[in-house]
């Protein structure tokens, strides 16, 4: 069997509030194989957001080891983590998190800008990605001029434009009506079909059902 794309070994994340130590994740072991579509399911407060922050290299574990695509990222400094996020991670957020007052095209091109890619090339790639997601006629629209479903598709385009090792989708349908939500889930399944590794984080068992594998998390531990 090939090396898993995500490997967590005894990962803990403890928040130190000064007076008390609050554990959000405790001794988590998890492997995700390349090309897998996995859902991390748990109620709010279960530690799934912390899980996403660690998987997405926005945060570091306080104990344990995290290897992403062969790189032991738990040992990296801030700049190196930023580089890993830039190359290897694509985020899809519940609240889209598009840059305000910035066109859809510039939003999708932004991650490439931080990679140092030239303007012409990155705008070309962003345009191609938006066209693939059916937003070819919305390139110059700012987020405030787009519907929720359209904004989330821009978000997905932005996550995919760097061809990342993993796509992390945090409640991607949480703010959408059921129709737009279905569309987004269809897109994620299509992506999976093209071989992308997708980690879906949700509290909703119905959404999680779209994934190949479900991992339940409760009180900072993997349940089953």
């Amino acid at each position: 069997m090939s090396e898993p794309i995500i490997r967590l070994e005894g990962v803990s994340r403890v928040y130190d509030t000064g007076r008390v130590q609050v554990p959000a994740l405790l001794d988590v072991d998890l492997d995700v194989a390349a090309g897998e579509f996995m859902a991390i399911v748990g109620p709010s407060g279960s530690g799934k957001s912390t899980m996403m922050h660690i998987l997405g290299c926005l945060d570091r574990p306080t104990a344990g080891r995290y290897v992403l695509a062969g790189t032991p990222v738990s040992e990296l400094d801030d700049d190196a983590l930023a580089a890993v996020r830039s190359r290897s991670v694509g985020f899809v957020f519940q609240s889209y998190n598009l840059l305000p007052r910035t066109s859809a095209l510039e939003n999708v091109a932004a991650p490439l800008m931080y990679q140092g890619m030239g303007r012409r090339e990155r705008l070309g790639r962003a345009r191609a990605m938006l066209e693939r997601l059916g937003l070819g006629d919305r390139l110059d629209h700012e987020p405030s001029e787009l519907s929720g479903g359209q904004q989330q598709r821009v978000g997905i385009a932005r996550a995919l434009v760097t061809a990342p090792a993993i796509v992390l989708a945090d409640e991607p349908t949480g703010n959408l009506d059921s129709h737009s939500g279905d569309e987004v889930m269809a897109i994620l399944r299509d992506l999976h079909a093209t071989g992308r590794t997708i980690v879906l984080i949700t509290h909703d068992p119905e959404v999680a059902a779209a994934a190949d594998r479900q991992v339940h998390i409760r009180d900072g531990r993997i349940a089953a």
Binding site: L58, L99, R101
Partner: protein, 403 residues
């Protein structure tokens, strides 16, 4: 991340909050404009005063009878200097010209016009010593002096007042009822204030003594020194020569019966005073620049707070701390530099206007512009760095959660 992208990013942000950017910029504009304008005004004033002093004559020593201190014998009131003193000074080394002056106020008539003006009896050296240039005809000559001739050279204002011009050279004017031949008209020097140097009638000193004064004592002696470096030596020589001639022994406590005024002393004093004034004005103006800088810092801190979530997003999609730092720093720099350039333009126009109104002309000093630009850059960096580093240090997890 490429530098061009950073600049584009920073500038596009300035465009989206135009009013706020403009108001922040206004602080810098006012600060830089007042620095540039006040320094320009200060330099213009200095230049104006210096020019006027220099138009009195270069490297000029002015010897007056009596003391400059004291109430009973004020300068000009005594009669201790004579034409013979003046003649003796002529032979000292380093002395370029000596011009004794016998002056009195006389009625001058030309045709149907008349005015009462200062008539000065002097020597041909007067032209050099007092930095005059002859415009029409010729200046006084030694033969005219030797022959006690009744000839006169008049100032530009006097010529104007009496309706005299090119065709009048050689004509006869009357001074105190006595006929004089007009031989020359001087070029205007421009007013140096209370008494215009252009409203003057010059006649040979010998003629003046004979007709108007009757004694050898002179009002003052102007001495022109060959070069600035020799002023001190010549001053000492003149003092020694006059003390000898007047039989004054300063060693035994006797004080001189004459006073030497050194123009470079005056010039130095004026320059140092106006230099202090310029620094003071610039200092006051710098305070407004400082306030403008604090305005930038304030608006940048607000901006970082407002855009916390945006910063979180940028970090999530791969921006490093230094990318965020650079973005905010360039924003602050753009505000301060654009404001600085606008301020320089306004400041130059302002100092030009003030100079024009005050009449001392306009001094453009490129160094002021360089300093102002450098200063506004510095303001941008100093007051932008802290907010920008706040932005750069934000924890992406916290920033993304920020509402």
């Amino acid at each position: 991340m490429k530098a061009a992208d950073l600049v584009r990013l920073a500038l596009s942000r300035l465009g989206t909050g135009r009013l706020r950017t403009a108001l922040t910029m206004l602080g810098i504009i006012i600060g830089v404009a007042s620095v540039v304008a006040l320094v320009g005004v200060g330099e213009g004033a200095t230049r104006g005063v210096t020019d006027r002093l220099q138009s009195l004559g270069t490297n000029l020593l002015s010897i007056n009878p009596g003391f400059s201190q004291g109430v009973t014998r004020t300068a000009g009131g005594a009669t201790t200097l004579t034409l013979q003193d003046a003649a003796a000074l002529r032979s000292l080394s380093g002395v370029q010209g000596v011009a004794p002056q016998l002056s009195s106020s006389r009625l001058v008539v030309a045709g149907s016009l008349n005015e009462t003006t200062t008539v000065v009896g002097t020597t041909p050296d007067y032209e050099l010593v007092n930095a005059y240039t002859t415009w029409l005809g010729s200046f006084l000559t030694q033969p005219e002096l030797d022959g006690n001739l009744r000839v006169a050279v008049i100032g530009a204002t006097t010529a104007d007042n009496l309706g005299l011009g090119q065709s009048s050279i050689g004509s006869t004017i009357s001074i105190s009822g006595l006929p004089f031949q007009l031989v020359g008209i001087l070029q205007p020097k421009g007013g140096t204030g209370f008494i215009s140097p252009d409203d003057i009638v010059l006649i040979p000193v010998t003629t003046a003594r004979e007709l108007f004064v009757g004694t050898d004592s002179v009002r003052s002696i102007g001495v022109s020194v060959a070069s600035q470096g020799q002023i001190e030596t010549v001053k000492a020589e003149v003092t020694t020569a006059l003390e000898q001639r007047h039989g004054i022994a300063t060693a035994t406590g006797q004080s001189d019966d004459f006073t030497i005024l050194d123009q470079s002393q005056l010039l130095g004093t004026v320059n140092s005073v106006s230099g202090i004034l310029t620094v003071l004005l610039a200092g006051i103006a710098s305070i407004s620049l400082l306030v403008g800088g604090i305005g930038i810092m304030n608006i940048m801190l607000v901006s970082v707070r407002e855009r916390t979530r945006e910063i979180g997003i940028r970090k999530a999609i791969g921006a490093r701390g230094r990318d965020v730092l650079a973005q905010f720093l360039i924003e602050a720099l753009a505000i301060s530099v654009v404001g600085g350039v606008a301020g320089i333009a306004i400041g130059i126009v302002g100092s030009f206007a003030i100079g024009a109104i005050a009449g001392w002309g306009f001094v453009f000093n490129p160094a002021t512009v360089v300093v102002a630009v450098a200063f506004s850059l510095l303001v941008g960096i100093v007051f932008g760095v802290w907010p920008a580093s706040q932005a750069a240090r934000l924890d992406p997890v916290v920033a993304l959660r920020y509402e």
